[in-house]
Each structure stands twice: as structure tokens, then as C-alpha cells.
Symmetry: none
Subunit: 227 residues, 2 copies
């Protein structure tokens, strides 16, 4: 996954600098705005993954900024404020803030709250998709597509093919495959492999008699190739 992008909207230069350095050294990409107006424009031009919003802005009440942002912005917003009144906290949270910290804040805690907020936002789950040529492997959805069509695989076919996909280009020995899919008691059942390799070829090869992906290495094992 790319660096998560965080927009800081705060008029205090010291806080901005502190946050910028802290966040950058924790591998976030940081942008910052000094005023409400600037912040809203920046957020709409290039929506960040998370916004840190100071309630005490010079040109507009932070609560209003929050409301405006929440009309369209769905990623987490964390409020920073010098005000520790319950009224303000409730108001901010009910207007769509995900968290509220009072200044001065502890940087470690802020970072943890950012991680927590980003975690619950949908962003995190980068899906491991292996794609080549006509085949597309989605390990998290447990699907295989050939020319965009979903191919039905049985449980055993899938685990076999998943091992191949993770070791693309390498020769995998009979022993290794049998042990990995069926367990160590099956290392002599090469026949299982022949049957299942044939089944998989029928499903993924254009011409199962002239396999292009699942190649036999006679006397050794098989190799999975994606051109």
C-alpha cells in the first residue's frame, strides 16, 4: 500500500511543524492548511485518507468546517482542540468527527489514534491480486478469473493452484506439492497430482493438450508460468 495521506488544518505554525515532522517520520504523506478555507479547498482537490482538524481556526468555526466536510468527505476526521468542554466534544463527535483530542496532546497517543482511525476506514485492505495475461488471481476473494470470467475451482484445485501462483516460474517437485496440499503421508501418490493437474489444465489452459501455464518437468515436477 502507498503512504496514507493526512491533511492538517491548523493555524498554529508550531503545531503544524510538530505534526508534520512526527507524521512524516512515521511514514505518512502530509499536507497542511492554515485556514478553514484553504483546508476545504485542499481536501476537495485531493481528498486525503485522514484529516486532522483544529477547532480554533481564524476564519471560521471548526464545527462549521467539520459539517461542511462531512457533507461529502467520508474518511476519518480527528479533532484537535484546546477546548476541553464536554459540549464541544459531543458536538464535534455528533457532527461526524471520529475522535477528539485536547491540546496539548501526546504525540504517541495521537499516532495510535490515527492508526486506529485508518484501520477502521476501508482503505487498509489492499488485496493481493496476481494478474498476468489472461489469468487473474485474487487470493483474498479466493477467486480465479480467465478473460474476466469466474472459474469454478474445487477446494483441492484451488490450494494446488494457489501454491503455484505464489511460486510462479519455479519448478515445484512432486514431493513438495503432495506434502503441501495433501500432507506428508501422501508424498508417493503422484497419481493424485496427475489427475488434479489435468483438471486444472482443463479449466485454465486454452488448449489443455498443449499447456502454456502449467508445464510438466518430466521426472521432477511442475512449473507454473504466467507470460
Amino acid at each position: 500500500m502507498n503512504k496514507a495521506e493526512i491533511l492538517i488544518i491548523d493555524d498554529e505554525m508550531q503545531i503544524r511543524k510538530l505534526l508534520e515532522i512526527t507524521l512524516q517520520s512515521n511514514n505518512y504523506a502530509v499536507a497542511d492548511a492554515r485556514t478553514a478555507k484553504e483546508g476545504i479547498i485542499m481536501a476537495s482537490n485531493h481528498p486525503p485518507d485522514l484529516i486532522i482538524l483544529d477547532l480554533g481556526l481564524p476564519d471560521k468555526s471548526g464545527h462549521e468546517v467539520l459539517k461542511e466536510l462531512r457533507q461529502w468527505y467520508t474518511n476519518p476526521i480527528i479533532i484537535l482542540s484546546v477546548i476541553n468542554s464536554e459540549e464541544d466534544i459531543i458536538h464535534a463527535l455528533d457532527n461526524g468527527a471520529n475522535d477528539y483530542l485536547t491540546k496539548p496532546f501526546r504525540t504517541g497517543e495521537l499516532l495510535a489514534r490515527i492508526r486506529s482511525a485508518l484501520r477502521s476506514s476501508i482503505l487498509e485492505d489492499s488485496d493481493p491480486i496476481i494478474r498476468f495475461d489472461d489469468l487473474e488471481f485474487d487470493l483474498s476473494a479466493r477467486t480465479l478469473r480467465k478473460n474476466n470470467e469466474l472459474i469454478k475451482l474445487t477446494a483441492t484445485e484451488y490450494s494446488l493452484l494457489a501454491i503455484f501462483a505464489r511460486n510462479e516460474g519455479k519448478v515445484l517437485t512432486h514431493q513438495y506439492l503432495l506434502r503441501a496440499v495433501w500432507g506428508p503421508g501422501y508424498i508417493n501418490q503422484s497419481q493424485y497430482l496427475r489427475v488434479f493437474i489435468a483438471q486444472i489444465r482443463k479449466k485454465i489452459e486454452n488448449d489443455p493438450n498443449r499447456p502454456e501455464h502449467l508445464i510438466t518437468e518430466s521426472g521432477v515436477g511442475y512449473r507454473f508460468v504466467l507470460k
Copy 2:
């Protein structure tokens, strides 16, 4: 929508009573546990929409309880603790807590943080209508329409289908589904799934014998597809 269910795990009777009254008068359904063990059992038997967890439990460290819960429990967990150390806060948040409040807490703030947590929890998604083809899912209203006709779902049917809707296209294993809907004590009751899948199919499929939406992945689980 039905009342959101909140589980309180706290050994201090005063806090429990206070929370119970406050939450009930704000239209939440409340359950409470006095110990870590009791709390985990209650959460597994009937997973609540949100958990309030005290870190200072008599029988087990709250951090451990949090870790255990997070192995399967996906809804929000809010930590209550007398400890205000940064270390504890970071630790809890990084172990999957959604928020951390120190005692004594302000009830109004707690309520606002509960609302915020429930809001961002997938239960009440910000864009909660999923529509495809003939099916229309409104996650916040907890309704399902097929060809614009309202379909009646029981609580269990709904939570099962809601999980599917949020993971469209993905294979969900028996284990995962059983754990998410019934709790970790039920991961061997595949029969439950068969019965409920059949019931749901009767309601949403054009021809329940040839399901197009709720697909069986033999030996693995089920997949929900919206064309």
C-alpha cells in the same frame, strides 16, 4: 433499526449500574459482565454491537481480553480505564480498541463516543444502500428489497446476509461465518449455516434450487454475488 446492543465488562458495580441506566435511557439494550471470563462468554454467545471494556478486571488483564476478543469480534470496543498512561492507551488502541476513555469519564462524552463508534462501524455505513440487479440492501434500515418488495428477514438471517453484502464476491468460510454470527463457540455447527442459507435462498433467489446470488463453495464456504 432495532436497539443497538452494548455489552459492559466491568467489575465495579457502581460503574456498571451508572452505565446501565445511562445507556438504557438512551435507547440501547444493555448486558453486563463482572469478569473477563464472563464477558468473553457473553460476547461469544451473543455478539453485541459494541463492547465497553474496563481494563482493570479482577481475573485477567484487560489487554489480554481485548486481544482475545479481537481474534474474532469486529464491532467497536471502547476501553474504560483509571490508568491515563500513554503506554496503556497506545497499547490498547494498537490492539484493536476503537477508543480509550479514562475514569472518571463524562457520560455525555461517552455517549457521543459510542454514537461515533457505532456510526463508523460497518453496521451503519455512511453509504448503506447496496443495489444490484433485483436486490436492494439498506444496511442502516436493516431492510432488503427484491424487485422493490420488502422482504422480511429474521435477526439471524439479517446478520448473515449483512456479512455477505459487505463482502460481495469473496468466499467466506464456514468458520468465519459461524464465528461472526453465532460466536466462536459455534464454529463446528455447519448445519446452522445450511439451514439458514436455505432460508435466505428461498427469500432472495429467483429459483432457490439454482442459486445465482448465494453460491456454495464446496468444502470451503459460501460466496455472495450480485451481478
